[in-house]
Symmetry: C2
Subunit: 290 residues, 2 copies
């Protein structure tokens, strides 16, 4: 499974970065890096262009030994030997009417046991219900052939995971999230490939529809303020970010997920009745979008 | 001790915010808040003015019950009943040649046992050795009468605490840091008062000297990039921030410590030989400033 997964993730990175280059009308910058403990990766960064203020699409294949403490936290597999390969991406558009998007698909082996994990979620600054619906509908359609119970389950897990308890807010309008897909691994691989191949379909139509929208300085400032929540989530709660930073991961590939411009304001809340307040309201409780 | 400590911290907040209002030529905004579990505080926020892009000086007096998990992590006192009062402040100046400063002085009781903690540290964006020396020398002079071993001990603790392992960088040029000052509590109170009363002397001469310095957009951008480290430190490592956010503290009073404008750039490092590179170099290993 290792090689199949790795080859798929490598091709998924190409598929996604080729399309992004086209729409962004600007090439990414590529960094190939090695990991001291074994393996390495290829990080592709977009900075500037038609669509993206900052965005990264990372492929990695790493292996070696988990720390004993980390190994203990894993419910599957045995020992400390591991192999992990995957794609992760975060895209922060310039235009505040285009949502930020995150996706990650990965295959992990510990000892003789392998599993898939991943997901995709959308973080709008201004709420267009049709965009949230489109994003969710895409993954619902994709997952339908793997069982009609899959999408609702992954949707719920996404709402649970991308939540900021200290703010009592969701990070965004959710999407799908799954981990430890361990049984019938061949079928799970098909499912992950189907999700990965749906990414562009889930996001690009939204980006294309909104990227020409005119915006004001105040709307840009609101986007930068909301982006503070993205940073708070990733540093306080995101398992991958914290694990990576505390275990000598490649800092720049981990924090490529951060927006370029962020602002924190003391005790700011948008005025009632504004589109900004509508977005805040929407983040208070998860909705069924499809 | 409770009342004496509280009264001192309340007056320290006044002393500091009065002087800051004068130099900033703009009044703070004041919020009085109550804590659901017991107690409350007064948060004073500066936004804009001659000196400060954003700054907060917080006084609080809170009491009630620690969670059992948190109580377990404390090496002193018994049970879960607590009382805590203190002042904490973070000042982020507009001008990149003026350093950010943080200070915190607190008195905590758990059961029948009370102790003081606190410190002050300086985070420059451009290094002026004389400023770092002045800051350290002020606290060294202040602490001298409490024993000549105190300043070196507190200086070392500060270097150890304000360190970002994932960046292999200090947060700034340090200062003093201490906790669990439990023996001879009356004498420790004198020491804390002496440190608190030295704060303005440690910082204002630096701020006054640098706040009129001309700066370019690139220098401002460098400051915003460095501020990303401040956010990373506070969310990943700062015990007070993490404890507050994860235990239902008042989010806006905790995150008042965050700068207004922050930026993250992929894999950025200043060019060798520049003042920006000199600052980075300085953060690689702690120096003896006095």
């Amino acid at each position: 499974m290792k090689d199949q997964a790795k080859n798929y993730f490598k091709s998924l990175q190409d598929q996604i970065t080729n399309s992004l280059t086209e729409i962004n009308q600007q090439m990414y910058k590529e960094d190939t890096w090695e990991r001291a403990g074994g393996g390495g990766g290829v990080t592709r960064i977009f900075e500037g262009g038609n669509l993206l203020e900052k965005g990264g699409v990372n492929f990695s294949e790493v292996y070696g030994e988990f720390s004993k403490e980390f190994a203990k936290t894993l419910p599957h597999g045995n020992g400390v030997q591991f192999y992990a390969t995957g794609v992760s991406l975060v895209l922060h558009p310039t235009n505040p009417f285009v949502p930020t998007v995150h996706a990650n698909f990965r295959y992990i082996e510990r000892g003789d046991t392998g599993w898939f994990g991943g997901g995709a979620d959308l973080t709008p600054y201004y709420l267009f219900e049709e965009d949230a619906k489109h994003f969710h509908q895409t993954y619902k359609n994709t997952l339908e052939s793997f069982g009609s119970d899959i999408y609702p389950m992954f949707k719920k897990k996404c709402d649970e995971y991308f939540y900021l308890p200290h703010r009592k807010e969701a990070r965004g309008v959710g999407g799908i999230f799954f981990d430890y897909q361990i049984e019938n691994i061949e079928s799970k691989f098909e499912m992950v490939k189907a999700c990965g191949d749906s990414f562009l379909e889930s996001y690009l139509p939204i980006a294309k529809k909104r990227m020409g929208h005119e915006f004001t300085e105040d709307q840009k400032a609101f986007q930068e303020w909301r982006r503070g929540r993205y940073v708070e989530f990733n540093l306080l709660y995101d398992r991958g970010t914290i694990f990576g930073l505390k275990t000598n991961g490649r800092v720049e590939s981990i924090l490529m997920s951060f927006p370029k411009h962020v602002r924190w304001l003391y005790d700011f809340m948008p005025k009632a009745g504004t589109p900004e307040a509508e977005l805040q309201k929407c983040l208070e409780s998860p909705r069924d979008w499809v």
